[in-house]
Symmetry: C2
Subunit: 526 residues, 2 copies
């Protein structure tokens, strides 16, 4: 786990709270001011008086550089430590920054006894208020703020521990040789994107490609984070919707990139769902023969599926994703907190892919989903984080074995053979992708049973879980002939036979060519 | 070396000529008819009489399958062996097919004595003429035809050996892990493209992307070869010229590919110079997230440079090659014979890149070019083949070490810093690329000397060789300020410093950042 670093104004309780947290976690506690006094063998007022503030800041810089490198530490910092951006950078590397906040009045009551050098003289209350105002932007660099005014220490400590956990970043490696990258997952980590990009060795400029809706919700946080990390940020908007995932809009992005002189080392951040990810990824793949891009998916479907694996594309009037490239991102950065702004329907649609991973690869995960679906539907942190993380792990493992979809990667199409056909026959208007996939999975389950591949229980568990999630599992009233023709036009048809991914038990799938008559029969029953 | 397989009508002298060739080369000689007789322990007329022709063809098929696998063999075949396409396929795998041809009259005079089953009865002359006509398309599958009427055997043998040499294919491996591929080079090998593609495991359809001029010259030969190998061929024309290397024309190609339902395993053949190669390569890179493509370069510059290394792109009004991808071909197939239809100027322009390889990587090769430039200018086979092969080897070696131009690949830009600027300032109208590069190399040589990196002789040898080739080596009357500004706008400028590739001796280059004042000074002198 990352260190917990307490920042904030003097008198907000950093030392007292920090000691308590260290005690709870069994970690070491470091108070940087105390460490400076120990090293200098003088009190801080004395250092200020003898050598001035800048000398003190130099000592503070040294102590922070040193303590930032520790493991399992709670670090309480002096009120002014945040002013030097290098201090923040060091502390962030392995630490969660929690800012303690208190009212000026409370602060005044707590520091009356003290010899604080910066508050010496008259009008202490006014000086506190002024200094608080000046320091505000620095304190805003924290990962979270916790108010301490009028609260007992136990509730403050509890809130800090909870918030610190949310900023913890889990890491999944996608191992693709020189195209390898990390998927990083946290609960409330958008403001940490900048430092993540800085680690990748990206040069100066970053373009945030997003749509107006997402841009309004998260553009500011992402931009601020990137700016703090030293990047020059350009925001490039694409209208919201699948119909803008076109070559025309890729050209629009090329021209923006050219106007700002984006170079080979510059980076694109795709902030949005699958449409933004595919379009921005394709643009990155083809601008100057490829520049780095980072996926910041904001829908559940994009977080567990579309953002991982480097499938980029735009649509063509003759079909979806016909123009594209396999081009891996440099990082997939997932903040699960953004799912709170999704519509319920879109969120549930994404759960279809999550359930899919359980069926195709992991019976224990499927069981977990059965047990914890209510919590997941309520976006409860622990269950949701696990569901997303395990989904990403399974997708990463499949992609690793088959980067360019030559073979094994086809198992990810479980439920998609019929799902795609339903989407196409209903002109992509009636169902969200995940909803159609859900119906497709229900059908694939029954088809597998009909072929004697699996037992009734395997089918019932799948259908029950999808229903529990609120996903559709029945075929709508459509002409079966239309559906079959659409399946036959699909890429999954090789030499007249239709290939289906079928589960012979929960957690394991096989790829089978199925006779058209059998499909027809099964569709009619279904 | 590949086997030499003699095909052709009875009485054209295959056995006699074959024996002589085997003697000259010290190889084994196989007469398939004789071998059949030996195996069957009967004469051919006897086999025909007792079991009929189809039985004979079965025996012939077996014998050919067996002998085709031999090494260092001269194989003389029966006149009708060519009718079975399986025979041709087997013989081609490791053999050069030479068809011996003679006039009907000559044939008649040579077979009068015989008991040839197919010529029994009256009107022998008419039957020979008829059979010759029927067999013509089969004999046309040969790599070369040699007439024997009224010639002595020595001159026939000499011609065969010469022609067989021209069809020999040299192979250079470009080792890029799973993106690896071969560069294959021959003198007169276009008609062998089909079997090369068949070896790659390409599925049914192939699109030939070319321009009308090249299509007219070589489209037929390429199409026939692909058809013979069992491919369905679609030709897609793009107008001739750099200004058609655009996204718009890529879209035109996408739509053609979609119309013919090209799939992931289908293939694009880029038949043309750099423009066609770049455009077709980019289309292949981005259609259905990437389908196989094969480069068949028809200019010298494309053969030794553009076709190798997977740099694909289209132009944008704001600059050249701004939209593109690194996407390796599955094969680069070079027929040096096509260079004969290039204009002298375009051919010479390509020599600039050849000379560049000598300077940057191989002093012995540079010496070879000094010694043999006259032969190369006359397109004499041996010298030209070596020049192209060595150039391809050097390019392949550089690309192998740096597939995506992160570092070492920059040495290929020798002469290009100034060269690109000259092209841009003259709006790509006054100089061909190689001509501008030649001036750029002459300048880079003088700059290196001015910086004390190399001696006068190193400069003089470069300039002399370029002049010998007929390339320009002096800066035209242009405003030096314009040139410098263009260089500064180029991608090679990093943080204000201009990076130059400079030779400290023939065969070795370094990359140096050069002060703008020094460049200005040198440009004035130049």
């Amino acid at each position: 786990m990352m260190n917990i670093v307490l920042i904030g104004f003097m008198g907000t309780g950093k030392s007292e709270v920090g000691q308590k947290i260290a005690q709870v976690l069994g970690w070491q506690f470091i108070d940087t001011d105390a460490l400076i006094e120990k090293r200098a063998m003088r009190s801080i007022p004395d250092i200020f008086k003898r050598y001035g503030e800048s000398h003190f800041r130099g000592l503070e810089r040294m102590v922070i550089r040193e303590t930032a490198g520790l493991q399992d530490a709670v670090i309480s910092t002096g009120g002014g430590a945040v002013i030097n951006p290098e201090n923040i950078k060091d502390l962030r590397k392995n630490g969660v920054l929690i800012c303690l906040d208190a009212s000026p009045k409370e602060i005044k009551s707590r520091v009356t006894d003290s010899e604080r050098p910066l508050l010496k003289g008259k009008n202490q209350y006014q000086r506190i208020k002024h200094l608080l105002k000046v320091r505000k932007p620095y304190y805003e660099q924290s990962d979270a703020t916790v108010k301490t005014t009028g609260r007992n220490i136990h509730s403050v400590v509890e809130e800090i521990l909870q918030k610190a956990h949310r900023v913890q970043i889990d890491r999944i490696r996608v191992d693709l040789g020189k195209n390898s990258y990390d998927i990083k997952i946290g609960t409330s980590v958008l403001q940490r994107l900048g430092e993540q990009l800085a680690e990748l060795g990206i040069t100066k400029q970053v373009a945030i490609v997003t749509n107006p809706r997402i841009g309004k919700l998260y553009g500011h946080a992402v931009t601020q984070s990137l700016k703090r990390a030293g990047f020059v940020v350009r925001t490039m908007l694409v209208p919201d919707g699948e119909r803008y995932k076109t070559l025309k809009w890729a050209v629009h992005l090329y021209e923006n990139l050219l106007r700002y002189r984006f170079e080979r080392g510059s980076c694109i951040v795709a902030l949005g769902g699958g449409v933004i990810g595919d379009l921005a990824g394709f643009t990155a793949a083809t601008y100057l023969r490829g520049i780095p891009y980072v996926q910041v998916p904001t829908t559940l479907a994009a977080q567990v599926d579309a953002s991982i694996g480097g499938k980029t594309a735009v649509n063509h009037p003759m079909g979806k994703n016909l123009i594209g490239a396999f081009y891996q991102p440099r990082l997939v950065f997932i903040d699960t907190d953004v799912l709170k702004t999704l519509s319920k329907r879109e969120y549930i649609s994404g759960l279809a892919e999550v359930i899919k991973y359980g069926v195709i690869a992991d019976a224990a995960f499927f069981k977990f989903l059965e047990d914890r679906m209510d919590e997941i539907l309520n976006l409860e942190d622990t269950a949701l984080r696990h569901a997303i993380q395990r989904s990403c792990e399974i997708k990463a493992a499949v992609v690793q074995r088959d980067e360019q979809e030559q073979g094994r990667r086809k198992v990810l199409n479980y439920g998609h053979t019929l799902g795609h056909a339903i989407e196409a026959v209903t002109h992509y208007k009636r169902y969200l992708h995940g909803e159609a996939v859900s119906i497709g999975m229900a059908f694939a389950a029954r088809l597998a049973q009909g072929l004697g591949l699996c037992d009734d229980k395997t089918v019932r568990r799948q259908i029950r879980l999808m229903e529990q999630a609120g996903l559709p599992v029945f075929l709508p009233k459509l002409r079966i002939g239309d559906i079959l023709n659409t399946i036959k036009l699909d890429k999954k048809v090789i030499g007249g036979a239709v290939y289906f991914v079928l589960a012979d038990r929960i957690g394991r799938v096989v790829i089978r060519s199925v006779d058209q008559k059998k499909i027809m029969e099964r569709l009619k029953k279904f």
